[in-house]
Symmetry: none
Subunit: 223 residues, 2 copies
């Protein structure tokens, strides 16, 4: 059973072509011939999205932005505009690749393959480590069933760590992922948030310090 791919493409001919090639390559494409409103509920359970930016009515870039609010699914963007500014914008919004039309379907398939080659880890909605539970969908955290109120940034921090439970992450990578690069958040800032988080979680061992490196998500068994 191939991996599921959502293709959002209004052009009949191109869409047919893409879907056929993907199917030949062993994937299971779903074809949306128009840009629909994307939400957690409407997004099908797919492992990758091929998104044409030039959809009538909707602006594909907005779809991408919406999508990234609730999902980390890889997105391969198609566009007729071979314009660096556009590419940069799309990639900044979280696109994983950007192809300029016209292109050979074969290349598209290979780029899809390249994206799906690497397994997505810990990107699932819910991550559970020990007594700690992190629900990305609901943006909720609970310990031993009891809900814990955390701030946006604290949640981001936990979610970042939860992507690879048990693996050490450097401060710099955490900062890059969690802090706003604009607002000069220094790496010291992370310490403060970690500190607050530990207090809220009621157990310091959920976020372990890796001395000289950064932090790591633990199961809270120590301590």
């Amino acid at each position: 059973m191939g991996k599921k791919v959502l293709v959002i493409e209004d052009d009949q001919e191109l869409g047919t072509q893409i879907v056929k090639r993907l199917r030949d390559a062993g994937y299971e494409p779903t074809w949306w011939k128009e840009g629909r409103r994307l939400s957690r509920e409407t997004l099908p359970d797919v492992e990758l999205v091929v998104l044409d930016l030039m959809l009538p009515g909707t602006y594909g870039m907005d779809l991408l932005k919406d999508l990234r609010v609730f999902s980390e699914v890889p997105v391969l963007v198609l566009s007729a505009r071979n314009d660096t500014a556009d590419k940069v914008r799309a990639l900044r919004l979280g696109a994983d690749d950007y192809m300029t039309k016209p292109f050979w379907p074969e290349e598209l398939v290979e780029r899809v393959r390249a994206r799906l080659r690497r397994p997505t880890l810990g990107r699932g909605e819910v991550v559970e480590v020990g007594a700690l539970r992190i629900d990305r969908g609901r943006r909720e955290v609970s310990v031993r069933g009891g809900r814990v109120e955390v701030t946006r940034l604290e949640f981001e921090l936990l979610a970042a760590l939860a992507e690879r439970p048990g693996e050490a992450m450097t401060r710099s990578s955490l900062a890059e992922r969690v802090l706003d690069p604009e607002r000069d958040g220094t790496e010291r800032t992370l310490d403060v948030h970690v500190s607050r988080l530990r207090k809220k979680l009621g157990c310091g061992a959920f976020v372990e310090t890796v001395w000289g490196i950064g932090y790591r998500l633990g199961d809270g068994r120590d301590e």
Copy 2:
């Protein structure tokens, strides 16, 4: 401390440009101005490789093929050839992206960012030698299942040795890899850390002395 990126690019001007942009974006680029033989030993510890396919003498595609034998590091390929067959070949060989020259450096940076946004997987390999276990991802060391607390530098030392278990490494190469060149760590310093490590591991035979040369990772069966 940004993520390390290896740039393999013979063109002086383009290389300068790329390196500068990457540095501005907060990465730590290393620039190879020629295609060198790639092996587990010669590949620096980087999180991504930018590889120009059109290198004089060597054919970049071969480098890519070699690389994939022993490493899963993401590769972004540059090429002057805007040719689907070439793109497909590179992607099939394990490239993660393919950019056609000329391009705007800004786009390159964004594509690098897009690749590194997702946590690299397949890293954090675990090395086991005898009863010794070294987990690069978790940054943990254990002996016969029992966790052993080691300092950052001690871990680096072990990890360096573990790259070639059983093979002797000179003090100088270990120092280069493990010590901070800034802070004048003399090679004598290594002895001290080896000593501390042996005590922590509870068995001196895991790190064997190679008289007049340096050290070697052993399985701990001696002694």
